[in-house]
C-alpha cells in the first residue's frame, strides 16, 4: 500500500500525473489514494519532497 506522509507532502500533484493506474487524486490540499493503487512506486520515485512510501504488508 501507499503511505502518504502528510507532514512532508506539498500537495503539488506531480505524483498524480505519472500514476499509470489513475489511483491518485489531489483534492484541494490533500492527496487521495484509490483502492486501485498497485504499489508500483512510480509516484514515490518522482515526488520532489519524498512524501510517498510504498509499504509492503506482511
Amino acid at each position: 500500500m501507499l503511505n502518504v506522509h502528510r507532514d512532508i507532502c506539498g500537495y503539488c500533484g506531480c505524483c498524480v500525473s505519472v500514476c499509470p493506474e489513475g489511483a491518485l487524486e489531489l483534492i484541494d490540499a490533500y492527496l487521495s489514494v484509490g483502492e486501485n493503487c498497485t504499489g508500483c512506486g512510480i509516484c514515490a520515485k518522482v515526488c520532489p519532497l519524498g512524501a510517498l512510501e510504498v509499504v509492503h504488508e506482511k
Binding site: G10, C12, G13, C14, C15, V16, V18, P20, V46, P48
Partner: protein, 398 residues
C-alpha cells in the same frame, strides 16, 4: 449555480480563465470551477513569460509584474557564464509575474465578462451518455450537483483527472515529468534584471536550476530534474538545498513551492465528444523551457473559440471539435513545442563536457529576437558539428 451551461470549464488557471473570458465575451453561458479555495495559490510556477507573448492576451500591469527582465545568463556545468542580451531599444524580453495576483486578475476578467465562477468546487466525475461528455458532477462543501454543458473544457493542470475519467490517457512518462521545487528567497545578492539558468548533470540532471528575480534582492530559486533521476537522497529538494547552501547561505526562504512539470509531447488527441483539453492538462508545456503560461492561455482561448463555433452549429462531436486540435498543432506554438521537444531530447543526452563546449562556443550573444529558437540558431552557427548531430531537426531550424 445553474444546472445547464453552454460551456463548463474545469480549472481556474490561465488556460481556464482565458477560455472562460473568451467564451463569455462571445455571449455563451459559462461556468468555471476551481477546486482550490483561492485562485492562483499555491503558485507552482517560476513565473517567467516573454513580453510579446504576454501582450497577445493582456496589457502589462505593475500590480502583477514582479520584475522586468532585460537579459539571461546560462551557466555551464563548469561555471562558465554565457550572457544573453537584447539589443532592442525598450528591451522587450520578459517579465517575472506575480502569479497569485495575475491568475486572480484573469479570473476576475472572466467574471466581469459574464462567466459564473465557483471556487472550492471540484469536478468529481464527468457526466457521460452515449459515449460522450455532457457535463460534470460538482462537489462544493459537501453538496453534490450535476451540471450539464454542451462542451466541457478540462483545464485542470498537471494533476488533471477529468479527461482520464472520460477515457483519455494523460499519464506522463516518468522520465518526462520534471520533479520540481522552488524557494521564494529574500535578502540575496542577485542581478535583478536577468534570469539565470544553471545546467549540468551534477546541478540538475536532465533539467535545470533557475534563479528568476522577483525584486532587487529577491528571486524564485528553483529546480526541475527528470523523474527518472529522482529518488531517495537525490530528489529535487536535495539538489536545491545543496545549491542554496552554497550560493545563498544567508538568504531567507519565504515560500516553498513544489510541483511537477510535464516535458513530454502533447497528448495524441486533445478532444473527445463534448470535451476539450487545454493547458498543462493537454501537456502543451514547452518541453525545453518548462514554460506553460503562454501555451495555456493560447490553447484556452483557441478551445473557447472553437467551442463557440461548434455550439453555434449544433455539433460538438469529437469530429467537429478536432478543428481545435488541428489548429493549435499547426500554430507557431504547436510547431515550437515539437521543435523544442527534439532539442530537449538532444540536450538531456549530453555529457557535462559536451554542454561546456556548447556554452563556451558563444560567450556573449546579442539576440535580435529573444527566443529559444534564435538562441539555438546562434548556437548552431558557432557549433557547425551540431548540425550533423541534430540530424533532421537541424533542417527545420534553418
Amino acid at each position: 449555480m445553474k444546472s445547464k451551461y453552454d460551456i463548463l470549464i474545469v480549472g481556474g488557471g490561465p488556460a481556464g480563465a482565458i477560455a472562460a473570458k473568451t467564451a463569455a465575451q462571445k455571449g455563451l453561458s459559462v461556468c468555471l470551477v476551481e477546486k482550490r479555495p483561492a485562485i492562483g495559490a499555491p503558485v507552482r510556477c517560476a513565473e517567467g513569460i516573454g513580453k510579446e507573448a504576454l501582450a497577445e492576451f493582456i496589457e502589462p500591469d505593475p500590480r502583477w509584474i514582479s520584475a522586468d527582465m532585460t537579459g539571461a545568463v546560462v551557466v555551464a556545468p563548469d561555471g562558465f557564464e554565457m550572457t544573453l542580451e537584447s539589443s532592442m531599444a525598450g528591451g522587450k524580453v520578459g517579465y517575472i509575474l506575480d502569479r497569485k495576483v495575475f491568475d486572480r486578475e484573469l479570473v476576475w476578467q472572466a467574471a466581469d465578462a459574464g462567466a459564473d465562477v465557483f471556487v472550492k468546487t471540484r469536478a468529481s466525475a464527468p457526466l457521460m451518455s452515449d459515449g460522450r461528455v455532457r457535463g460534470a458532477q460538482l462537489e462544493y462543501c459537501g453538496n453534490v450537483q450535476k451540471v450539464n454543458a454542451e462542451v466541457v473544457i478540462a483545464a485542470d493542470g498537471v494533476e488533471s483527472k477529468f479527461s482520464k475519467w472520460a477515457g483519455i490517457d494523460t499519464t506522463v512518462p516518468v522520465r518526462e515529468i520534471m520533479s520540481s521545487v522552488q524557494y521564494v528567497m529574500a535578502d540575496i545578492d542577485i542581478n535583478p534584471s536577468a534570469t539565470i539558468f544553471y545546467l549540468g548533470n551534477e546541478v540538475a540532471p536532465e533539467g535545470y536550476l533557475w534563479v528568476f528575480p522577483k525584486g532587487k534582492r529577491a528571486a524564485n530559486v528553483g529546480i526541475g530534474i527528470s523523474g527518472r533521476k529522482s529518488g531517495k537522497g537525490h530528489r529535487a529538494k536535495d539538489y536545491l538545498d545543496r545549491f542554496v547552501k552554497q550560493k545563498f547561505p544567508h538568504g531567507k526562504t519565504i515560500e516553498c513551492i513544489v510541483g511537477g512539470v510535464s516535458v513530454c509531447r502533447p497528448l495524441d488527441c486533445t478532444v473527445a465528444d463534448g470535451l476539450m483539453l487545454a493547458g498543462d492538462a493537454a501537456r502543451v508545456v514547452d518541453p525545453l523551457t518548462g514554460g506553460g503560461i503562454y501555451n495555456a492561455m493560447f490553447t484556452g482561448k483557441l478551445a473557447a473559440e472553437t467551442a463557440a463555433a461548434c455550439i453555434a452549429k449544433g455539433d460538438t462531436s469529437k469530429k467537429a471539435l478536432m478543428a481545435y486540435d488541428k489548429a493549435w498543432r499547426a500554430s507557431k506554438m504547436g510547431k515550437g513545442i515539437e521543435r523544442n521537444y527534439l532539442i530537449k531530447e538532444y540536450l538531456i543526452k549530453q555529457s557535462d563536457e559536451k554542454l561546456n563546449a556548447i556554452v563556451h562556443s558563444v560567450s556573449k550573444l546579442d539576440l535580435k529576437e529573444f527566443s529559444t529558437l534564435t538562441l539555438v540558431k546562434e548556437l548552431l552557427k558557432a557549433n557547425p558539428k551540431l548540425l550533423v548531430e541534430l540530424g533532421t531537426l537541424a533542417a527545420s531550424l534553418r
